[in-house]
């Protein structure tokens, strides 16, 4: 039964804007269907959700007597008194969603609780009710929202293009579809079927349905129990982690939440396996007693508050760690260190294959030869039969440069003690070179023998094709290959060891890492330089350091960069003297 909530409950419900954009409507409607124990949920979206959002379910339906209150504010069937707020077991509890949606759209609910009762339909236009009227319909509920925000044009202005909003709606459906095993979901966008998962599918199959089989193949299952908190899910193997993850989903009691602390917990569980610059993709499902989590903290329910945060953090971290410990981390059959031996020493300028095989960030051409250090823990080193002779130790060279923590370079010059961030400096050098090359029309591009196809969501697809010329200038040759796919025919030569899909996404949407570079060609060049540069944690040899410093000196400005972090710090001799309290001696 739908009832108006008492005042004291209303006052305690996190207030704020419930519907920000079409995707929030999609989420609210699906959650209502799930609360109504639907087994089948069909969603269709037209014109980015601004034209039409339609969610049809086969759930309990709404009784005629209750229908009048469905669009009423603070009316819900899911909560009775303040006490219920302590242990919310349903997605809805505010009795707000339909009211907020009905106020800014032309909405209609058509519903039936079963054949005997018949069906009823009720419209609501900008908050004004029309009906209910009897109709013939089967058990379940269809909610149709047309012309969202038609009476609040200001709100419309804050939305992205229809494609972007459609992509967000899709994201809302997929994230809910992932965890609700037993429920069949399908989505249609502008009349085209987008995806479908069956009721019987488990999380793994659901992931594959949403993200593709390739994606799941690189994942391991995780499962753990800790202090009554159960954690389940799937996690990418370290070797498949990317700088920008494709998916990071957290669910708390099947509610999709955005929680930095949970992401941090997963990362911390992966810490021993994953370089800091890479992000795992994952789906984590946390189940715990509803009384131990407060879902009433955020107007769109995107955040939750755990009563014992640290315990949850620990449970997640441990589950991830255990999953990786148990997984066979030796990569699938692929080029292992052995391939190194089939290459002559003269052709080792590429990355050590062993490095590449471990998926370390160095899997691209380093500007120098990578020291053989990483080989010491290679699998095939155990039984390394030949050569038995250890090369005679060369006399230790006088070191003029020092690498600290495989991240910073230290050396001296007349101005004082110089500390350099190796990544920042190398990035700067490459950025300058790429700019020169671009200006001189000699930015190199490696053509591909086998073009690589990349699936993109509709908005990225359109952007990639819109930017064809600009990308080609950068060496990335993109051509259309069907409605949601592009084919890459050439890649920038500096980045030919990067994964092509990652590269494409990075160049479509270059992150403004250091702030200040306008989102254009320059920012894309900068992104390329950043990807190609040595990373923090890459061990460098003396020659490599010397060569890098030499190249740095040749630049107009390598110390202070106009846009970002400093590449170097200099401590002048008198400053050192002060620090050591030598002045006066």
């Amino acid at each position: 039964m739908i009832r108006a909530l008492p005042r004291d409950v209303v006052d305690r419900i996190a207030a704020g804007e419930v519907v920000e954009r079409p995707a929030s409507v999609v989420k609210e409607l699906i959650e209502n269907a799930l609360d109504a124990r639907a087994r089948r949920i069909s969603v269709s979206v037209g014109e980015g959700g601004l034209g039409l959002i339609r969610v049809a379910d086969d759930g309990t339906g709404i009784a005629e007597a209750d229908l009048g209150l469905a669009f009423a504010a603070h009316a819900t069937s899911k909560l009775a008194d303040v006490g219920d707020l302590e242990h919310i077991g349903s997605f809805g509890f505010r009795g707000e969603a339909l009211a907020s949606i009905g106020a800014v759209s032309r909405a209609r609910i058509t519903t039936s609780i079963g054949t005997e009762a018949g069906g009823w339909t009720l419209a609501c236009e900008a908050g004004v009710l029309l009906g209910p009227e009897p109709v013939a319909t089967t058990r379940g509920t269809v909610v149709e929202i047309r012309d969202l925000f038609f009476n609040t044009p200001a709100r419309r202005r804050f939305l992205g293009a229809a494609r972007t909003e459609a992509a967000r709606c899709r994201e809302a459906v997929t994230s809910l579809a992932l965890v609700h095993a037993g429920v069949c979901f399908d989505l249609e966008v502008d009349g085209h079927k987008r995806f479908r998962v069956d009721g019987g599918a488990d999380l793994r199959e659901r992931l594959a349905a949403v993200y593709g089989e390739d994606f799941v193949r690189d994942m391991v299952p995780l499962a753990g129990q800790h202090e009554g908190i159960s954690v389940e899910g799937w996690l990418t193997l370290p070797a498949a982690a990317k700088p920008r993850p494709r998916a990071q989903h957290c669910f708390v009691n099947d509610r999709h939440v955005k929680d930095r602390a949970l992401v941090a917990a997963v990362r911390s569980g992966c810490a021993d396996f994953l370089p800091g610059s890479l992000q795992p993709a994952f789906v984590i499902q946390i189940h715990l007693d509803p009384a131990r989590v407060d879902v009433n903290v955020h107007p769109t329910k995107a955040e939750v508050r755990f009563r014992e945060r640290d315990e949850v953090f620990r449970a997640v971290r441990r589950a991830c760690r255990d999953a990786l410990l148990a997984a066979n981390l030796s990569p699938r059959p692929r080029a292992e260190g052995i391939a190194a031996r089939s290459m002559s020493p003269g052709w080792e300028a590429g990355p050590g294959p062993a490095l590449a095989a471990t998926g370390s960030p160095s899997s691209r051409t380093l500007p120098f030869r990578v020291e053989s250090k990483p080989f010491t823990d290679r699998a095939d080193r155990v039984g390394e039969a030949l050569p038995p002779a250890v090369p005679a130790p060369a006399p230790a060279p006088v070191r003029r440069y020092l690498q600290v923590h495989d991240t910073y370079l230290v050396h001296e010059d007349p101005a004082g003690l110089v500390l350099i961030d190796q990544h920042a400096l190398h990035e700067r050098i490459l950025y300058a070179r790429l700019q020169d090359d671009l200006a001189a029309g000699r930015l190199e591009s490696q053509r591909l023998l086998l073009p690589e196809t990349v699936r993109l969501d509709p908005s990225d697809h359109a952007r990639a094709l819109g930017m064809q010329e600009e990308l080609a200038a950068l060496g990335l040759v993109v051509e259309s290959f069907g409605p949601d796919t592009v084919a890459i025919h050439a890649v920038p030569a500096v980045l030919q060891h990067e994964s092509v899909p990652d590269l494409l996404r990075a160049l479509l949407d270059p992150p403004d890492a250091h702030g200040g570079i306008p989102n254009g060609l320059d920012r894309r060049l900068f992104t390329m330089a950043c990807h190609a540069a040595v990373k923090a944690g890459d061990p460098l040899g003396e020659d490599e350091i010397a060569s890098m410093l030499r190249q740095g000196e040749a630049l107009d400005h390598d110390a202070t960069c106009p846009h970002g972090r400093p590449t170097r710090l200099v401590i002048p001799p008198d400053e050192l003297e002060k620090l050591f309290k030598r002045s006066g001696f």
């Binding site: 981390l329 052995i338 052709w347 823990d377 039984g383 500096v494």
Partner: protein, 367 residues
Amino acid sequence: MKLVTPRELFLHHLQLVAPISPVRTARPVFKDVLLEASPGQLRLVTTDGEISMTSIATHAGISGEGRAALPAGILLSAVRSLESDELTLEQKGPFHELTGGASSFKLHGEDPEVFPEIGSLDEDGAVAIPKTGFLDLCARTMFAAAKEMGRYAFNGVLLEIEPKEVTLVATDGRRLSLARMTTETGVSERASCILPLKGLAQLQRAASEGDDDVVKVQIRENQVLFALQGAQILSRLVEGEFPDFRAVLPKEKDAPLEAQIDRSELERAIRRAAVTAGEEARSVELSFDAGKLKISSRQDGLGESESEMPVEYQGEAVDIRFNPEFIGEYLKSLSDSAVTFRFKDRASAGYFATSERAVYVIMPITS
């Protein structure tokens, strides 16, 4: 178990199988080598879960009986460090004692029963391929397989067995190497699979030792078994779809220009040019003109280089640029004295060939 064996023989076989076992693994038993002794014979097995290798030592000097699973790396180092001609390995309570002369080791083992069972060759479905020819195909192709992970099938080498032909193909998406040999395989229709590099490298290693004439190959559902007289390698196949290599093989119109080049001279010139080819993006330029080929490279702040050599070439002047590693690795894999290079223009694929049966396709670098 108890085992008495000549040291040299034991060491040799351990060295063959030990590279398989991984250093870090969640399953400790993968670090072990399984030893099975019987009078006159010792069987050694290692596995990493993907690839397993069995090596069989047959020798009158071997005696003993029983099974043991001991850490491969430590056992190998121990055997290397012992000096006597004959070694004894014997279980003593919780330890296995390895003795050679007056020195001995006590090693902790695992229960050999937990060591995964490795299937053996079933002669029926096996194809016998002449060993030298097959090793030659491996050498001509393996270098071109993708070394970093990406599209899975690129991390392996395609093996195709046809009634009268065996073909290996490898590609990393930017170049592709194909080599085939003629041999009666006895199969009635084409069979193919994608071999992981690690398994092939292990086969190369094992096959270059013995005096076998043939390698027996058996393709199973998701595994491949290579058998030599004293060794077997069972490897998981690489999953995935191998690209349609036939579509990228040269057709007359794709490469109307042709040059005959001395292999070792080209290799040296490329090596020189690589010095000044730059660091991050490396390219060398091949400039063809009537009767000669100039190979050059330059990188700002680094310098430039140039070499010229006579070649058999009649076509127009064309400049085309490549990654020097791609050419260098290829030339190094050959023993032929001359190569044919066919091409069209600076933006289209180039094809190296030493015969109809060995082709290397390589994509240029453009700007």
